[in-house]
Amino acid sequence: MAIDIGQFVQTFFEESLEGLDVMEAGLLALQPGAADLEQINTIFRAAHSIKGGSGTFGFREVTGFTHVMETLLDQMRNGRLEVTGEAVNTLLESVDCLREMLVTLREKADIDEARVEELRTQLEQLLKQNEPAVGSAAPVAPSPQPPVSLQTAASPKQPAPDIPGWRIAFRPHPDLMHRGNDPVRIFRELSALGELTTLPDYRRLPSLADLKPEDCYLSWELELRGDASREAVAEVFAWVEDECDLRIEPLTESVSADEPELLTSSDLPEPPAPSEPSAASKPPAPSEPPKARVSAEEAQQGELVRERRKSAERRTSMAAADSSSIRVSIDKVDAVINLVGELITTQSMLSALGVDFEMGRLDKLHEALDQLDRNTRDLQEHVMRIRMLPVGSVFNRFPRIVHDVSEKLGKLVELRISGEQTEIDKTVIEKIGDPLVHLVRNSLDHGLEPPEERLRQGKPETGNIMLDAYHKSGSIFIEVSDDGRGLDREALLRKGLESGLLKPSEEYSDEQVYDLIFHPGLSTAKQISDVSGRGVGMDVVRRNIQDVGGNIQIASQAGFGTKITICLPLTLAILDGQLVTVGQDCYIIPLLSIIESVQARPEMINRVAGRSEVLRFRGQHLPIMRLYELFSAKGAVTDLQKGLLVVVEADGRQIGLFVDDLLGQQQVSIKSLEKNFRRVAGVAGATILGDGRVGLILDISGLVRINNTVL
């Protein structure tokens, strides 16, 4: 029977990547010198599972590499190897490397063998350092591949073309069956190898009174005729090797004369005399591992390999953020199933009403429709919840980052994480990972002072970085704060004036000054480190956050720290929209971006430079954009006084959108226009309206950009 194990590979990748997270968290929690045994055990198990799975699914590179990690962890577990900071760091790097390997393999790409080899050497060195202390008691498996064969008995290879078969003396110990073995099954195995004759020996059988029914008293003299190899025969007995006295010897027609003396199990590993001495020590894995070849070519390929490694790193970070499946707790699924049940009840109620409807039952109809409305809303909410993941999945990576970066910078840092159970839509989670990393790195690098400086200022030596997440009024808030030196208002102000972003004549609020850090090219870091400080980043951070419909705020106090608050929408898949009509068509404006809708009176409209029109609105002059012109809509209202102007804001700029009329507000589900048609400037997506028509969802920041280019 051919069974395709490919279908389980995905599960293998998922659980292995999860296992790596477990290993990483465990390693970070390990205290060098005083390691918790259970912690090491957990790390070991994760490595062990990855090794086992990778072997089964044919990822030999992973098996070989994990094997070394596992050996190291095993020795730590047994107390034979000390848990040092160096070992932990090497293991952490190996976890990264392994993660990269897995992701690469999942994408069916080539593994960066040079890096694997480098780390493997490091791991092996750690093992070797230990070797003198351990002596020969702890052999480090030298072969990169664990043996593949089921059982390689100590018996030598012996080509057996000339002998007619094997004579086997088999004397089970009385307790053989207590471990679930059974001579009958062994004979069945043997008979599959050739023609078997069994000759039982009843001599050990006690009297009935002394007979224990669960013990085995019989012995056998077996003759197996056929061309089976000695290994094959020995393998049949592999499981009972030390539960019986066994002797296997070539069958010769004349040998029957001398009574074979039975060997005890302790004699077994000794190879009989006529053996080829080299055969026993030969490793069973027949194929040469691909690594050997690579290391030879390595020198020439160094450059290429490094290049590949870079791209692999990129791929890893991309793929890690963009996993294609999610794990949903059964509660959430149950809730949805319950709601579907209710929906069906409502539906049958409505069908019953519809069968012979009369006006007298209008109340009932309304009632049922209300219920339907409630059901759908609940269902929507719960279905959305399926896509929600705890923000902890993003926060998890920070202990590692803080560990690595603080070590590099020589700072003492404690990371406090709270609210990791707060749930956010998966699509949002994927987009905020990188911005958060940037913010935390900034805090580590610029925010927190070195220990001496903190002590001088009367602060505790260890700095704090706090990550928090919580729900508030339909949005998710994520805070990154530190108790470091805070933003340098004066330096920012100076930079702002130098670059011309601020005018010397005006007074600026703290907020306006702090806002400068989001401008590309402004960095106040006194020296550029490789952690951060090149002045690229904060603008990107803000753009990424805005891309998912969020915003970012800064609060800071000199000497006491900085707090950055990110506000995110609960989901990207559903949007609260204002429906508007333009000609025959219906468009949706995101409710969040609408400031106000006004009917323009003539005195509010000004014409600037001939063509472009502006709306005087609360002391400002806002450009007017006629949507029917933009979308070439027919039959639209063209007189500004007869339609409506919707004032919207994006990227800090307001414009007035001219529409025919406002319809209702409703939640719409966003469908990608790009995926189904193509990208259209000024349109964020589309949705299906209640009457089945397609309505376009306006992209307000896109419209603002269009307006800028037109002007």
Binding site: Q7, T56, T152
Partner: protein, 120 residues
């Protein structure tokens, strides 16, 4: 056809073994660690137990000892799944009362061949 209890903390390994055995017409119970397996075993009998060694909560060695103490599992074949082909590791299971072992990695064919060795 037999009832087989499969114990492994790795989901992919469990799925693979379960699928393979079911394809061959066996009934399969799965458990993700020794404790879960023991609870299952106390409620139902199996013709064969296949268990991983390294697992959280209760490891395979403890499970084997516990199973052998149950009257219904006294002679039931128990195979350990082991990644080690070293004698030491194999014997660890045997010492606790295991019947034999299956060395990982294995493919479905090898798994079935080994299973057939102890069934019936």
């Amino acid at each position: 056809m037999a009832t087989i209890l499969v114990v492994d903390d790795s989901a992919s390994m469990r799925q693979m073994v379960e699928f393979t055995l079911k394809e061959a017409g066996h009934q399969v119970m799965v458990a993700e660690d020794g404790q879960v397996a023991l609870n299952l075993a106390q409620g139902a009998s199996a013709d064969l137990v296949i268990t991983d060694v390294n697992m959280p909560n209760m490891d395979g060695i403890t499970l084997i000892k516990e199973l052998r103490a149950l009257p219904t599992y006294k002679f039931t074949p128990i195979l350990t799944l082991t990644t080690e082909s070293t004698t030491e590791k194999k014997m660890e299971g045997k010492g606790a009362g295991a019947t034999g072992w299956i060395v990982k990695p294995f493919n479905p064919e090898k798994l079935l061949a080994t299973v057939n060795k102890v069934l019936g």
